[in-house]
Amino acid sequence: MTSAPVAASAAVLKDGRRRRPHGRLTAIVAILPFALFIAFFAAFPLIEVFRLSISRTSIVDGAFVSALSGADNYVRVLADPRAWNSLRVTLVFIVAAVVGTIILGLILALLVNRSVWLLGVARNILIWPAVIAPVVVSLMWLLLFSPTVGGVNKVFRTLGIGQQQWLNTETGALVVAILVDVWHWTPVVFLFLYTALQAISHDIIEAARIDGADERQILRHVILPLLTPAIAAAALIRLVQSVKAFDEIFLLTKGGPNDATMLASLHIRNMFFDRLDFGYAAALSIIVVLTVLVAVALYTIARRRVRGKS
């Protein structure tokens, strides 16, 4: 059925010889701005980061002066407990934030899918957090969790509960940072899974129901298996997204107390812009980039394996 139009359009292309070189030129002109832009503003910084990472760089008379230093910066990073701490904090943050958003996003998708009265309102409001600037999101939560002026403490006082100091404790600050990230990005997972849920045919669910399956069995044996690919895709998206987290923590905790929320991105910024240790910051950047690439590659391979089996 589809082969006839395909063959026809191929014929048009084949005898369109006069047009072809012209079309080729158009193609190059159309793609070139994109290619040049990406090459200039992505490849160049990337090369610069790599060059910084293998150089000793300092500022002399307002200009960067570099001398090659081999693996020195990498050795310094790998010997620094603060670098390891930032990687450990990042890992904890990523795992908690990804798991949290996936579970809540899934629950929200299932709820909205079953909702009648709140369907329209919920579909609109549930995406709000994802469009607000991360800086504003952390500001909003600071206004709630601040030990001195936060709204939470006003509620606690009214209820006669002791005042919370969560942002001033190491575990508390990390938990609040994760909560804020979960609040901010659950909408993306929700949207993703809700779209996937909508794509599941009602006939399959109806057939299961006629076969005598109750709601719980349908959820467990029909809906969740069909959603698994979407959940895996959402997890990858969230993984990549949470490695990038910076803005929220920068305002909320600045990495403290005692580096308890010092994500790798924050540590890189501090080393580059506050300590002016450019080589260290660049070497840590390269280490993070390579780790992300390896993690994404492993995840993709694992997903292919699983898909190949089923």
């Binding site: 793609i31 994109f34 992505a42 919920a122 006082r157 490695v243 910076f246 305002l251 580059f272």
Partner: protein, 278 residues
């Protein structure tokens, strides 16, 4: 009233959803409300409400950098949207319909896939040197260029998916009728993908408006910084002006939420495709 598949409303489901909506709305409402409170009321450990516009008045007072920062953010957003639309549409069209040579597309696509995957912070040291060499530190132009780099892969990808939905026969018919490639693009294909352009425009606008890291690292703050950096700089170690902070946050967030209400469809398209970009 029945749901999409004809089921009755379930009270526990609606109640749980109502709780979720409350969890989303309460922090937003609280922050917006504090924008209208004097500092005295905010630091008061007891409940103390009033209606006061002083925070906005002092934010926009002459001599304060806030108005400049607001203007900077508008300019950065407009510039980024225009560049992403122009370059992204051309690239999306080429990738979808024109079959450009692989020696250009392959390296460009590998890099374009790479950018959204790594934390922008890891590129900042290199970008800082590059912007310095080009004399673009502390300029709107520099921020527009870097925001465009971060959003262009997504813009091109989304535009390509919309161009994929346009039948090839349409373009070919226009060419057979004697239209030039350029004319066929602007007169025949582009009008069809207007919804895609709207989605790209709205989504890149939100991303550029919300951007913080590049603004923080490529400017010295003050009048050269975008709005988000201005908000963060209000958090001073010695004197925190909570009311002004809340007011600045409201100025940044309210337009975006209004946009989310009226352009919900485009934002959903952007979020589900754009999430890949993050």
């Amino acid at each position: 009233m029945r749901g999409e598949d004809g089921r009755r409303a379930s009270v526990p489901v609606e109640a749980a959803l109502l709780a979720a909506i409350a969890i989303i709305v309460i922090p937003i409402a609280w922050g917006t409300m504090l924008a209208f409170q004097p500092n005295r009321a905010i630091v008061n450990p007891d409940w103390d409400f009033s209606m006061w516009l002083g925070n906005f008045e002092s934010l926009f007072a002459p001599g304060e950098p806030f108005l400049n920062q607001l203007l900077n953010s508008v300019l950065i957003t407009v510039g980024t949207v225009v560049l992403c639309l122009v370059i992204g549409s051309a690239a999306g069209y080429a990738l979808s319909k024109l079959n450009p040579p692989r020696w250009i597309t392959l390296p460009a696509l590998v890099l374009a896939a790479f950018i959204p995957m790594v934390p922008p912070m890891t590129l900042v040291p290199g970008m800082y040197l590059q912007m310095g060499a080009l004399g673009l530190l502390n300029t709107i132009g520099g921020l527009v260029l870097l925001n465009t780099v971060l959003n262009l892969p997504f813009a091109a990808l989304l535009m390509k998916s919309y161009f994929d939905g346009v039948p090839d026969e349409l373009r070919e018919a226009a060419l057979v009728d004697g239209a030039s490639e350029v004319r066929a693009f602007f007169r025949v294909v582009l009008p069809i993908v207007r919804p895609g352009m709207a989605a790209v425009a709205i989504f890149t606008a939100i991303m550029a408006w919300n951007e913080f890291l590049i603004g923080l690292t490529m400017t010295a703050g003050g009048r050269t910084a975008p709005l988000t950096v201005g908000i963060a700089s209000l958090v001073q170690p010695y004197e925190v002006t909570w009311g002004q902070m809340a007011a600045a946050g409201a100025v940044a967030a309210v337009p975006i939420i209004v946009l989310a209400i009226i352009a919900n469809r485009q934002i959903v398209a952007g979020l589900t495709t754009g999430a890949v970009k993050g």
